[in-house]
Amino acid sequence: EPEVTQTPSHQVTQMGQEVILRCVPISNHLYFYWYRQILGQKVEFLVSFYNNEISEKSEIFDDQFSVERPDGSNFTLKIRSTKLEDSAMYFCATKAGTAQYFGPGTRLTVT
């Protein structure tokens, strides 16, 4: 069964550094999302992406964040200057019909 994959599984970075989280969507899916989950808290929406542009973004998704689909297959989330409060699990999700299918996540630890 096709799955969403994410790399890396765990990323440790220092405050102020840039990180790029990568996602490979399920092949025929056209809608892409990033969510995050701070330890012990709800899954929170960051951004949705369709037809090579952002469809929606939350208040969390400020100028420090960006998304792109650089090569038609990968879907990336970039955080330009990480803060301690960016530490969380970041999930990519993709959709073709109605349900969003989530990847295994990248655990980002900012020190």
Binding site: K42, E56, T98, A99, Q100, Y101, F102, G103, G105
Partner: protein, 114 residues
């Protein structure tokens, strides 16, 4: 603003002891209500989508139902492998159509004891 509230926060059952999890929601117009299962350190795993009041979906020991204000996830004769956090999420109708985000509840952490 869309809101999802799940109860109880945690539930411990003996193997074979059936129960229900509750998801109450407030949304401007419901496009769909989703149930996911999440194991520790993993991504949410899709279980069901419900679209309108009165709809029911079943999968193995799980059955999801929907009213205009809440959804229930009924677990019949659970087994230890059903232990996980069960998440409810809603998708609202909006101008952005199918790309609309999911709004999640905090989840119910289910433990099934052998």
């Amino acid at each position: 603003e869309d809101q999802v509230t799940q109860s109880p926060e945690a539930l411990r059952l003996q193997e074979g002891e059936s129960s229900s999890l509750n998801c109450s929601y407030t949304v401007s117009g419901l496009r769909g209500l989703f149930w996911y299962r999440q194991d520790p350190g993993k991504g949410p795993e899709f279980l069901f989508t419900l679209y309108s009041a009165g709809e029911e979906k079943e999968k193995e020991r799980l059955k999801a139902t929907l009213t205009k204000k809440e959804s229930f996830l009924h677990i019949t004769a659970p087994k230890p492998e059903d232990s996980a956090t069960y998440l409810c999420a809603v998708q609202a109708l909006s101008y952005s159509g199918s790309a609309r985000q999911l709004t999640f509840g905090s989840g119910t952490q289910l433990t099934v004891l052998p």
